[in-house]
């Protein structure tokens, strides 16, 4: 897989089509996001399958937004999985990136990862290879929904109360593109309270992600106290899909929650 990615990026860089490529770089045993601008550097390019597939994932799109803000005229390439491509689509919708400045180089995810993610589409449309896995069901969501209201309350409050308000979930989210965040607004989330007022803190963010979350699960991975945030956001996506027939990153335009129409 990586050979195909390198080949494609080389082509793009050599042809002068892109100014740089946002991917993952492995140096001295560490994997980190990196902006490749020279073909010679591509030896260090990896897709992030370290011990297990996809165990080194980063919100590369987020870096792309910063690049776009700094160099609005330039075109950059970016490494994407299925979810990242959904993210790109949705970032176009929210005017944070434009397709003409982006070349996506996609890789499909293996079944193992797709199952772990409960991912509806574990492959991008712009891909260097054919899909190798099928969409999987969100088991965690199904399990949570099967519980009674009281049980759900107990479980959520228990995990929410562990929150240390590190903002990791927000900082890593590729769809959180605000310059100032409501979660730091004193009137909503009083400063200095620990844990933050629950479940307000987590629900405020969930409401903000409605119609925007593209279900990448990075928030869940970032959370130092293992709050099952992906389950919460899968539910957010599920409500928006069932009530408003909209899936961020799949469907055109903003979600009906974010558009005022006259009906």
């Amino acid at each position: 897989m990586i050979e195909k990615v390198i080949e494609r990026v080389k082509e793009l860089l050599e042809g002068g089509e892109i100014k740089g490529f946002v991917g993952l770089c492995n140096k001295n045993g560490h994997t980190a996001p990196y902006l490749f601008t020279e073909v010679a550097e591509l030896d260090h390019l990896v897709v992030g399958d370290f011990q297990n597939p996809g165990d080194a994932r980063y919100p590369l799109n987020k870096l792309l937004i910063d690049l776009y803000r700094a160099y609005p005229e330039e075109k950059f390439g970016v490494l994407v999985r299925g979810c990242d491509e959904r993210g790109l689509n949705d970032l176009y919708v929210w005017n944070q990136l434009t397709p003409k400045n982006v070349v996506a180089v996609g890789i499909p995810c293996p079944q193992e990862l797709a199952d772990a993610c409960g991912c509806p589409k574990p492959y991008p449309d712009n891909s260097v290879a054919e899909p190798i896995a099928e969409g999987a069901e969100a088991q965690d969501l199904i399990r949570m929904e099967a519980l009674g209201v009281k049980e759900r309350f107990t479980q959520w409050m228990e995990v929410f109360s562990k929150c240390i308000k590190c903002y990791g979930c927000r900082d890593i989210c590729p769809m959180c593109f605000c310059k100032e965040c409501s979660l730091e607004l004193d009137e909503l989330i009083p400063r200095g309270e620990m844990p933050p007022e629950i479940p307000i803190f987590h629900l405020v963010r969930a409401v903000h992600m409605a119609g925007r979350c593209i279900d990448c699960g990075l928030c869940n991975e970032a959370c130092p106290v293992d709050i099952p945030l992906r389950t919460l956001y899968k539910k957010v996506g599920d409500i928006v899909y069932r009530k408003f027939n909209y899936r961020p990153g799949f469907d055109k335009g903003k979600s009906p929650l974010n558009v005022l129409e006259n009906k």
């Binding site: 929904e145 629950i198 969930a206 539910k235």
Partner: protein, 82 residues
Amino acid sequence: MGDCHYLYGNVATEKRIKFMKQLLEFVGIEGERLRRKWVSSAEAPEFVEEITDFVNTLKALGPSPLKREQKPDQPSAKVAVA
């Protein structure tokens, strides 16, 4: 619907309430604790009826689970639910 003083503000509200009810339900707060009803200023009896009914619903549900969870130094969490 459509009778909003601000044209379509109530349409936007309707969608959010729909969403919120489901989200609350998912985190274990009964969706019935959130209610939306259109009543115009000319519909006093409807308003009274609605409020009475809502109060009865809330009484039947019992105190909010958040209230039980409440620490005394955290009065503000009550804001979220009726």
